[in-house]
Subunit: 410 residues, 2 copies
């Protein structure tokens, strides 16, 4: 029986600790926005470790960093990796965990002197968060041809600095041609950024794909009126309408037949927004996500009908606009099975899971067989300085990544 | 049988039209904020008409204007009047109708050469709206000793100009001692600023008093979470909590046992207020008004209980603070009966009504017998450029004011 390889969790924790110093916040989080000086420091540190270990480093035209551990044969590459940028006052694991778990895998293969048939390539994608430059997942979008690099270059931050200028400023406007290399598979490790795995006492999420997503904007129009002089029965109160709509949407989401749809009203505004004036305007957004496109379509029909009835009952005008439509993403069955087998070898408690968030892997899945490995994060908290993982989750994710990459690269 | 006197409605409409030019907006409304150059123009015009008619004009230390038509005897004065300032983009009738109806009454008495026993005094109160300088009803508050004049002087607008400086700039920092004169009664005419009279086909509202009022601020605290990765069942969503609270408050207000309580959620904010983040914070205000103090107390107990249950069910923290408490105002029974008799003489359809809004008369009622006469405004719209009245309502209110003042001054 072959001894199961394991990563060096001490080294991985040290790496995570070292990278967490770059942009560290007072509350133990990280602010390391894309293409800033701090992002450059994280990039430089990754390259320093990689070159010390003898890996070949390339930079493409959008600043994605490719770190290759050579294979025995000139075969399509097996890729892994994630992003190094963070949200403003974000956490120390979102993105960077996948990068450093990948680096740890490569270093472990060095430790045990393992030769793979296929090369394995660790990638640090540029600007996944989209906090400084919109859109998010920019490096992966350019790499997969979904966003033209010349278009990406022109995008500016709030200070008017363009992506191209920022890449030049930090010295990461690369010239290496990586985009068209054959890819055998891509596995991205990431924290779940949600509470499911921890709640169910699971260590690994085997990611089958990502939710389809629809965004709506709803406008309700009533009549402004004096709060003291207008009987409640004679009002056309846009805030009451909004409240009834949000309550109805929440009930719709909680129906068993709605199958764990992720339905969120996260943004709202009202007018005139004054304590003693009945509101004539209310605006709110709906973010709705599910893995089944048919269900999402049925729920859209239902929500349109329900909100329209509420508006009519309250004598309000309603406008419901769909403003974003993203299809379901199905990850590759072979990649998923590879992760499942790896998980079984280590006897980690694992479940299949659907990603509710967007990830670089979602773009890569459009050009190569792809899947993801999720580890839990404490209380599901992410995009927050309080983001945390345990040592055992940290090790488990990297071990499953190690075995999956080894299987795919053999 | 004595012929019933009537005002000259053509003259009153001309006066309303002329004053509506001072601060006229593109949409037919008025912006005439307190103690501005436009307020000065309205004040000057009122004084010009008054002096031309032989009335004595006095200005007190907060800029209230007192226009006296002498009586036969040196008896306590019968007062009327309202305010000349408007909301930003407000209407052409709120306040100024009561001033000009009062002026029209004095001019009618001149026309018919009527001598009253008591003097009758028309007042234009300073800064009723509170739009430029907070608090509202400032002139009446100072006149009745509820606000110290030295304190009022220090209050600044957003540009740092104090009330005293503004009074000096427009030349209305008066020195006449009016505050301690004996007052027999005060009757204020005003548009209803609500929809009740028009809805019930009534021409006159006989105002019995003003609602007690309580303001609350509610804070809900949950946990911010990713809209895509967090199942709806695992959330602590402050926006869902707020929506359920507002829906419950509206249902509470509509209960028959809540007796036409005026309950309004008019202002709200949420955090982080982002489309794809479950909100961890929601703040909203409650404005609750009723004529029965006991009922208001019971409703406060009920709303606190109901909102607390909702918060608990949704795993949210809740804080409910009462931030304003205003008692019921009961107007003087004799003044009310005087108005009722006047209304009957002209056969105007009339009902008793409670003011849901604050008025200068509410302050005056603390120092002298007081009541108010309401006329309808179209669709109840007020504090809005679309504010409108009909010629017949305009005439009816002034006629009832004429007869009431005559009765009180005889």
């Amino acid at each position: 029986m072959i001894k199961q390889l394991s990563v060096n969790v001490d080294r991985l924790e040290t790496l995570l600790h070292d990278f967490a110093q770059i942009g560290k916040t007072d509350n133990g989080g990280v602010t390391r926005l894309a293409l800033t000086e701090l992002d450059k420091q994280a990039r430089d540190l990754l390259i320093k470790h990689s070159q010390a270990a003898g890996f070949k480093v390339r930079i493409d035209n959008i600043g994605n960093i490719f770190i290759r551990r050579a294979g025995r044969e000139d075969l399509p590459v097996v890729m892994t990796g994630s992003h190094g940028d963070s949200q403003p006052r974000g956490g120390a694991y979102d993105g960077i965990y996948g990068v450093l778990a990948g680096l740890e895998v490569l270093l472990t293969l060095n430790d045990f002197n393992v030769q793979t048939r296929h090369p394995i390539e660790l990638v640090m994608w540029t600007n996944e968060e989209g906090s400084r430059f919109v859109p998010a997942m920019m490096g992966a979008a350019v790499f997969t041809g979904k966003l033209a690099v010349e278009q990406a270059y022109l995008i500016q931050d709030r200070d008017g600095i363009s992506v191209k200028e920022a890449l030049e400023q930090i010295g990461y406007l690369g010239t290496d041609q990586v985009q068209n290399q054959p890819i055998k598979a891509m596995i991205e490790a990431h924290i779940e950024q949600g509470p499911i795995l921890e709640n169910l006492n699971q260590t690994i999420g085997i990611v089958k794909g990502a939710f389809a997503q629809r965004w709506f904007e709803v406008n309700l129009t009533g009549l402004a009126a004096h709060a003291g002089t207008t009987p409640v029965t004679m009002r056309q109160d846009a805030i009451v309408g909004m409240a009834q709509c949000i309550t109805a949407l929440n009930q719709l989401a909680l129906k068993p037949s709605s199958g764990d749809v992720r339905l969120t009203v996260g943004m709202l505004t009202t007018s005139p927004n004054s304590r003693n004036v009945v509101a004539d305007q209310a605006f709110f957004t709906i973010d709705m996500r599910h893995y089944e496109a048919d269900l999402l379509q049925r729920l859209e029909t239902e929500l349109r009908a329900e909100l329209t009835v509420i508006a009519k009952q309250l004598n309000l005008q309603i406008e419901i606009k769909r403003v974003l439509t993203m299809p379901v993403i199905d990850f590759d069955p072979k990649c998923i099975e590879t992760i499942r087998k790896a998980t079984n070898k280590y006897h980690y408690p694992a479940i299949d899971i659907i990603s509710g968030a967007g990830h670089d892997a979602c773009y890569i899945s459009t050009v190569a067989p792809t899947s993801m490995i999720f580890i839990p994060c404490v209380k599901g908290i992410s995009h927050n300085e309080a983001e945390a993982i345990t040592r055992s989750w940290c090790e488990a994710g990297a071990n499953v990544l190690l075995d999956s990459l080894l299987t795919l690269a053999t």
